[in-house]
């Protein structure tokens, strides 16, 4: 099953909407509660990343009885050094973003911790593609 959500950069009022929708879908599909929790935490973090750093983005969700695949594609500045961004505590979030409770510098490592597989590619000046996979069996 496929679902697509658009994400607007800089608009924190709606940040988390797509992740909430994904959560509702997974609940209806009777996915294991622990898996829902990990998926939604990771998805929420990734969604907020787009809002915080990119101009716009799209979330593609693909669910089969075997896997949940969520792909975050954004148009934005990209990540110059992915290895650095993967380090615990690294954050480029502005102080304004931090005040809203987002961006504690645990973005990518935290996402990786919660998912079964994570794949990230980025092109500076163009954008980032983040793919998350959860195995259901």
């Amino acid at each position: 099953m496929h679902f697509t959500y658009n994400v607007e950069g800089g608009n924190f009022t709606r940040a988390g909407y797509a992740s909430s929708e994904i959560k509702k879908i997974l609940k209806q599909l009777n996915v294991d509660l622990a898996i829902i929790k990990r998926t939604v935490v990771a998805s929420y973090e990734a969604e907020v990343n787009i809002v915080a750093h990119a101009y716009s983005g799209t979330i593609f969700v693909d669910i089969t009885p075997e896997t949940i695949l969520i792909k975050f594609v954004d148009e934005g500045p990209g990540i110059p050094d992915i290895a650095m961004a993967m380090k615990e505590g690294f954050s480029t979030a502005t102080s304004k973003v931090r005040e809203m409770g987002f961006g504690a510098g645990m973005g990518l490592p935290n996402i990786r911790k919660n998912v079964d597989n994570m794949n990230i590619t980025s092109e500076v000046g163009k954008g980032t593609v983040l793919e998350l996979t959860m195995y259901l069996q």
Partner: protein, 462 residues
């Protein structure tokens, strides 16, 4: 699948129901549908919040209570009264006057529900410290909220504090007290005067506890009427009471059941949220985040917490104001003279703390479309297809509260797409249904009565 999880205190009286669907439209868990002109409840979705009871214009929904005469099966008949009862009355009513009315009714002792909150507070304090890793911890106080979390937010069940509610702590104390007096437990009957339906349901089928300490419940409006009548008659002969009236509870105990009653007591960040839609909105958000800076959540299903209980007769805002005022007065007295009477419950602190725990609260997810994920996916696909044809108006004329609810009912085989009045009109245009057939469908949902004209009325032309 059809296993019944919960006992419900709310009963729908078919013979009184006029099928107006007011209840269906206010139900926060979408547990109500209309069939044959009558409201019908899906048991496992209902959390006993009582929104439907408040919305019903004809009193078709009632709150079940025990036959009052049952109390006489016991030699010792104890009435457990909630603090909000005292805040119901416009004039000054003393504890003693209320006790005297209860005595007249046949009770032999009266105890305040919040008496156990002092010891509960200690237990909560240490629970919060010991279970820091589970934050935010959610109070187990409101039974409607506990059930809401079970059905709508199952992943948060582990955050619910596994401690007794004040009612059960105080009841445990009473049982211990009588046991120490050498009284046969079978001779002790504890009756709870309840401000809401959820508490009744919790007494009849406790979540996380094997059995309840309470023998029966009496709705608070019944007692309100008795006291109010006595008040209007000037409490003739009721200003004396042979029952010992204990010293007033501490101010924090008096305010426990109001909003902020618990949240204001604990160190660290706490939040108090009342009214079930507010709670749902907040829990939706909470579920998305892994980390949360809040240590403690006090969540109550009713606006103004128990002061807004569905069996409360007084205006909830006045009730809150009166109780706060009384608490301030008590606090002032505490300053001037030491009130240390009737602290018998403190003698049982150890026993109560040892019996404070309840077992794990289990998730009972009700959102799933099917147990089997492949089947659930198929059904979800069907829901999406059906939603493309429905109007998104949520008019409720199909007998379901929203278009999405109808779509889900259809895939579960509980409704037909032609229940939708927009679809009916479209089908009429295409000659797939004739007016008689669409009328028959409407009658299946709303009953025949709404479509028959009384014999002697003439059509009024405007």
């Amino acid at each position: 699948m059809a296993e019944k999880y919960f006992h419900h205190a709310l009963k729908f009286r078919r013979e009184v129901c006029i099928g107006c669907s007011h209840c269906m439209n206010v139900c926060p868990t979408q547990a109500i549908r209309i069939h044959s002109g009558k409201a019908e409840l899906t048991d496992n979705r209902c959390v006993d919040c009582g929104k439907c009871y408040m919305a019903c214009p004809v009193g078709a929904i009632i709150v079940e209570q025990d036959d009052f005469s049952q109390i006489f099966m016991y030699r010792h008949r104890i009435a457990l009264i909630p603090g909000v009862l005292l805040g119901q009355f416009p004039g000054k009513v003393t504890n003693m006057q209320i006790y005297s009315v209860l005595l007249d009714m046949g009770f032999t002792e009266v105890e305040e529900v919040e008496k156990g909150t002092g010891i509960l507070r200690m237990a909560m304090d240490s629970y919060l410290q010991e279970n820091h890793h589970l934050k935010p911890l959610i109070s187990s106080f409101c039974p409607a909220i506990v059930r809401l979390i079970q059905v709508r937010f199952p992943s948060l069940t582990e955050n619910i504090m596994l401690l007794k509610a004040p009612l059960d702590v105080t009841a445990t104390y009473i049982r211990k007290k009588y046991a120490e007096m050498g009284v046969d437990p079978k001779e002790v009957g504890i009756y709870y005067i309840t401000p809401c339906a959820a508490k009744i349901a919790a007494v009849k089928s406790p979540v996380g506890d094997k059995f309840s300490q309470i023998d029966g419940v009496i709705n608070m409006d019944v007692i309100f009427n008795k006291v109010y009548t006595a008040m209007k008659q000037g409490f003739a002969g009721k200003n004396q009471c042979s029952l010992p009236v204990s010293a007033p509870l501490k101010p924090f105990q008096q305010l426990w059941t109001l909003t902020e009653g618990e949240a204001s007591l604990f160190p660290g960040r706490s939040l108090a949220i009342d009214e079930i839609s507010n709670v749902i909105e907040f829990l939706e958000k909470l579920e998305n985040e892994e980390t949360c800076d809040i240590n403690f959540l006090e969540l109550r299903a009713c606006d103004q917490s128990c002061a807004g209980g569905i069996l409360a007769s007084g205006n909830r805002f006045f009730t809150v104001e009166r109780l706060r005022k009384t608490a301030i007065e008590t606090a002032a007295k505490e300053d001037t003279k030491v009130v240390e009477a009737s602290n018998d419950i403190l003698n049982h602190t150890q026993h109560l703390l040892q019996n404070m725990a309840v077992s794990k609260v289990l998730p009972r997810a009700m959102d799933k479309l099917d147990e089997d994920m492949k089947m659930a996916m198929l059904k979800m696909q069907m829901v999406r297809e059906i939603m493309k044809t429905l109007p998104y108006v949520d008019c409720g004329l199909c007998g379901a509260p929203t278009c999405r609810a109808l779509a889900q009912d259809i895939v579960q085989g509980k409704a037909k797409i032609t229940n939708c009045i927009f679809i009916q009109k479209k089908y009429e245009q295409k000659n797939w249904l004739n007016p008689q057939e669409t009328m028959d469908i409407l009658k299946q949902v709303w009953g025949d009565d709404k479509f028959t004209d009384p014999d002697n009325t003439k059509f009024v032309t405007l």
